[in-house]
Amino acid sequence: MSRRLSFIFCISSLFLFGGILLSAQEDERPLFEVTTFQLENGLQVILSEDYSLPLVSVVLAYNVGSINEPPKKTGMAYMLENLMFQGSRNIGSMQHIHFISKIGGILNAVTTEDRTIFYQTVPASQLALVLWLESDRMISLDIHPSKVKRTRDSLIEEIKQRKLDDPYFESSVLFDQLLYPNKAYSHPVIGSETDLREMTIEDVQDFYTKYYIPNNAVLCITGNFEKRKAIQLVKKYFTTIRPGKPVPFFPAKEHLKSQEIVRNVENYLAPYPGFHLGYRISSPDSPDNYTLAIIEYILLHGKSSRLQERMIYEDRFASHLSGGIELKKNLATFKIFVKNNTETLRVRSQKSIFDEIDKLKSDFISENELNKAKNMFKRDYLDQFTTLADKGIFLVKFHLSRKKNSNFLEELKKYLAVTPSDIIGIVNRYFTEERVVLNIKIK
């Protein structure tokens, strides 16, 4: 292979199917096919053709989030997400949005603790336009002092607004600090007003140079395109972007062992009492997570789930109940948030949750109930492939996870293989009294 052609040094096609899993009516039915390769500059590329509609979706994920922010620089990743729409060398401020919406397309971006994802879906004829836009902001984002100032002002305003809109925002930040003693994990993605005010243009430029580079990104194209043409376009727009320095390895953290932590907070804004409850569970790539995900559905999802049925519909102890597994880089937790009408009901709600967890520790779950939880999980898992953008986002997340070498339908099979004994074992292992509780009392 000549050097010129070696821009693709790895091409692999994964023919993904899940006939037995997906349908009892047919033996095997392909769901969709995925091709992956990597450019010389380190950019990983995923292609998945789907000719059902004349659309194409482009998802570009950078493997960076709020966890990567240096101390006292919280909000940096979210700041960069916003700056990415404010222009680059060949594209004016907000023109990215203008180009996409003018042709009837949609776009958005999301920053989490461990990644930043940009996505857009457009008519299939406009694939080149999106690659042109994405490559330009990867190669030459315009980090101008006036733009940083404007973005900072708007983010500070957003923090204020979020506090007004969500009276429980501050208690959830405090709860995360208790649940994740490591500061990198416990601050909100939006950052703090103090840190944003002190952020310099050099800080922003350094962060951009360090993380928003091809060797720290995954590009996924899903939809109605010809593979050969798409590879040509990806090569044209991305292959000459120079890689950055190798991204620093993020040191793996483990949960700290502690006794039960119970704290009370008096909330001036919250209209009702409530509480946050958390358990520190296995790391995201542990096989235990298959069982934990099904436990999440048994307890929390659907009106007939154990906690929803008991606390919201039967006993009516709680007016709101939500939660589930939260994955942050290499740590995972199981969180529950409850709102109650009175202090007495708050106490009763906590007891109900502990009762239901205790039942799961000792009693085998029925096949019917387990099957219900698995089917609801499966439905939500499949819902991730409903639109091209959803599919692209799923594929980049999967690729960035430690499971990237496995088949994601094989993954689904593992969730569906959970047994009643697995549930008893895992509940006993993780749902212990080493929990964290933050009670919200109204002032």
Partner: protein, 490 residues
Amino acid sequence: MSVAVRSRGYPFSLLFSLLILLCILNTSLFSQERFRRNPPFPDPLPELTLPKIESASLSNGLEVSIIRRQDLPVISIHLIVYAGESFSPDALPGLATFTANMVNKGAVGLSSSRITETIETIGGKFSSETHPDYSVISFTFLEDYLDTALETLGKMILQPTFPRIEVRNVVRTMHYDLLGRKSSPAFVGRRTLLRILFEEHPYRNIAFNETVTRNLNRDELLSFFEKYYRPNNAKLILIGNLTLRTAVRKVSRYLNTWENKDIETEDINPPQPNETLKLCIVDLPEEEDATITIGNTILLRDYDDYFPTTVLNQVLGGSPHSRLFMNLRESKGYAYFAFSTVEFFKACGILTIQERVRPNVIFESIAESLNEISRISSQVVPDYELEQAKSYLIGNFPLRIEDLEYYSSRLAAIQAFELGEAHWDSYYQSMMLISPENVYEIARQSSLQSPVVVVVGNIQELSPYLQEFDLEVYDTNGEFQYTIKKGETE
């Protein structure tokens, strides 16, 4: 290369100058590839090919249609019943919505919670939606469970029990839901507009408020259900990886004993559009901004008017590139947003503009909006603007039907109104054929220039800016209160 240059005897100074020039060009012009400077040209747009709608009828008159989709192992069922809100009795607006909300609340041998559990066991989601002309009961689930889903749906429709406790629960939920929405200026503005536009028309029932829930009861529910929930007054759509033959066989097994009955319904005449500009205000004292809702009904000659009317809406306010947004937000800076939408009912269409503006520019905002309505009604839309609007709609259509909810609701409308292929997989062609004259014709013939304008916000703050109008004051339930005469303030 340098040897060759020397042999031609070029002076060193010239070579040096060329070298310098090349360096300058290299840094100023060639430091990036040429293709990065401008957006690339688009490729040809692939054809839009949608699955065919195949239909058959059961012996009891129920029409069954399937749309084959093989992308996901999920089936969705949509039962359309011609029992929309316009069918609710005059004294009981909200009854159609209440009935649709009660469908999954109990059947013989199945309590409400047992139905919920069954739905969740098959990975299902259940919902109901009531439009002016019809209601839709929707049920989506994993494809392996078609029999369970149809059996459950069959019991809900054929053997409903409507338990009294569930009646109370649903009435209470509707009451608090409607009460909660009264703090939304956009919701209040739209409801007040609909109430005024349809004051003398059966569609007025769609603008009901929470006070109607006092009158909703089980007897009226039973009577409404018995009258309208009949197979000869319904259509069933199944979307998923199945054939018409399988669908008919399975649906027939569970719904063939659903008894048909003659239903006397009267065609609804088109409403009379508002003929003179009317300005109304609703007081929401907590609101810092003003929300303006402007609208009028549009008489449709036939459903093919859908296409020019949709283009008209797109030019006027369908997106951030349309006239209203560009004028009121981008150019004048009056509005946080300014958009228009068009909806189609059986008897008419309705064009609605909504804007959120600063109170001190409320008058100017209304004036500019009326100017834009006047411009589109009196001048033919230029070719480039029309092409831009059509291009947006053509590009955006597949994106909207990518969403299963929109896909299903569009299919429901097509089946309910018997619209045909022009509104489904011939959408591109139908849209491409629209000319500036088609759009002008719709705008010219309609009464868009004499709309109803509803302002929602703090009346004490807003009324001084609106002294040039007679202002009709409505409460948040849409009830007329009094008039503030021109020149006066609250």
